[in-house]
Every structure is written in structure tokens, then in C-alpha cells.
Amino acid sequence: MRRFAALLFAGGLGFVLLVIVTQLNLGQTPMIVGQEMLNVAGAQVGAANIVTSVLLAYRGFDTLGELSVLFAAATVIGLVLGHRRSNAAVDPDGGFVLQAGADLLFPLLLVVGCNIILYGHLTPGGGFQGGVILAAAFFVGVLGRPSTGLDHSVIEVIEGFAGSAFIAVGLWALFAEGEFLMPMLDPGTVGDLISAGTLPLLSLALGLKVGSELAGLMTSLANTEAGDP
């Protein structure tokens, strides 16, 4: 009897799902806002990369929310895992292959990360992706030589400065134009390095913030003392 009920329930659920799938026009939603953005973004914001103009201009406030979520996560990890006794043993340095690989990767990752951040309004990428690559660039060095570590006070200064810069640009737009994080300055020619108004500034602030936050997070995770098993 129970099996029959289960079969009936599964069959009914499958029928309902089938009806929903056939009745809803999935994948053909009326994209009013998206289509409008595609039409006006080039002239209005001046960024060749539409995704960046959506992320930093039309939905800049959402990006600020993402930044605060990331900040909360990094703060919690620092609180829970950041404790370290001063006399705790430090991990031994990595082998030759790891150290040489870290030395080789560091400049490459640094250049790629800066390129992705600074060209965020022209080519695919932007502050977030470039920031993650920057964090990786600094983390491979720590992986090769755990004894050196990263200076957390410098990271905190960069992080705070970048976060405040993002909000400061938003407030500047609020007082000058009347809307928070509204794109300002001359959009310029689409495709030029100096174009899209304040978007490159926001992208740089976002990249530095994400990079310093994730680098600090991974370093504190790597340098935590292992708890007693």
C-alpha cells in the first residue's frame, strides 16, 4: 500500500512538472530591461564591455552588496581561524620545484591580473576576476615559502582604502548627479583606454578590494595552526 502511494505521488509529481515544463515558455522570457540595456549602454556609459557597464553602472549597488558579503566572509574566517600563537611552529619551505614555480608564476599572474582589471571596461573580465588572479599571484609565493608570509597590516590598509574609494566614488555621484554610483565624467570614445568615465576607477577599486581580501583570507587559512586532533 505504501509503495502504491509512493508510486502515485511520484507519478503525480512527474505529471505536474511535465505540465509546468510544457506550459511555461522557458528560455523565451520577455527581456525588456536587458534588451534596453544592450541598446543604450554603449552610448550612455561608453564601455565596450557591456557586462562591465551592467555590473558597475546599472547594477553598481549590487556589486557593493557583493563586496560587503565578501568582506563579512573574510572577517569571519579571520575571527575563527586567525589566531596564532607567537611561538607556533612555521611550516617548512616548499621544495625547489614549488619555489621556482612560484617565482616564475608571480610576475606573470601579476601582469595578467593588472591587465584584466585595467582593461575591464574594454575586454572580458573586470575587477572581480582580476582581483582573484592578483590574490593567487601573492598566494603562490606564500605557498612556496610559508615562513615569509604576507604583511597583514599592508593588506588591511589596501583593503580599507579600496573599499572606501568605491563608496567615495558612489557618494561623489550622489552629490553631483543625484544618484548613488551613477557613471560620471565624459564617456569618451568607445574602445579607448581612458573612456567610460568613472568605470575604470570603480573597477580598480573593486579589483584591489577583492584581491587583498582573498589574499588575506587564503594566507590566514594557510597559516592557521592545526588544531589538536
Binding site: 584584466i116 576576476q129 592545526a226
Partner: protein, 102 residues
């Protein structure tokens, strides 16, 4: 041609996703999870979404793999050998002091 490449990647992604669940070796499972993200990011490139592909490759394949690997190391589960009858079994044996933090 593109369909064949896409199907190859999808098969690889599905195989790695099953491997994440079935592989006994923890390090292998983390590596397989990274392979899933890497394959998905290639699919994003094929679907003309390079921004999403970059995020997926950087965060999914790079960052989360590193975080999971560090977590394994903190838990003392970082074993490269297979655990079948080897001295480095996954059983809760007392960890040797030098190996645990290496």
C-alpha cells in the same frame, strides 16, 4: 565539430563529477572538483560568455580548489597514496608530528 568538442567536455565534466563522489582519495576528489569547474568554464567560452568563464575558472577551478586543499591539510587528510593497506591510511590514527604540518 563544435558539438563534438562540447560533448567531449560534457562527458569529462560528468565523469569528474561522479569521481568526486566515488574516489576514496580526498586529494583526488578535490582535483576532480576543480576539473568540473574547468570543463564548465570551457563550455561558457563556447557559449560566448567569456566573463562568466573567467570567473568560473578563477574561482571554481583555482580558489575553491585551494581552499578545499587547505582544509584537507588542516584536517590531516592530505594523503597522496592510495589508502588500500598503506601506512598512510585515512583511519583516525595519531598523526606523526612532522607529517601533519608539512
Amino acid at each position: 565539430m563544435l558539438e563534438w568538442i562540447a560533448s567531449l567536455i560534457v562527458i569529462t565534466v560528468l565523469t569528474s563529477a561522479v569521481a568526486v563522489l566515488t574516489v576514496q582519495n580526498m586529494v583526488g576528489a578535490v582535483a576532480a572538483a576543480s576539473v568540473v569547474s574547468l570543463g564548465v568554464s570551457v563550455v561558457f567560452v563556447l557559449m560566448h560568455a567569456p566573463d562568466v568563464a573567467m570567473t568560473e575558472a578563477a574561482v571554481g577551478a583555482g580558489l575553491s580548489g585551494v581552499v578545499m586543499a587547505l582544509g584537507l591539510r588542516k584536517l590531516g587528510l592530505w594523503r597522496l597514496e592510495d589508502d588500500k593497506g598503506s601506512a598512510h591510511a585515512l583511519e583516525p590514527t595519531p598523526r606523526p608530528e612532522t607529517d601533519a604540518d608539512a
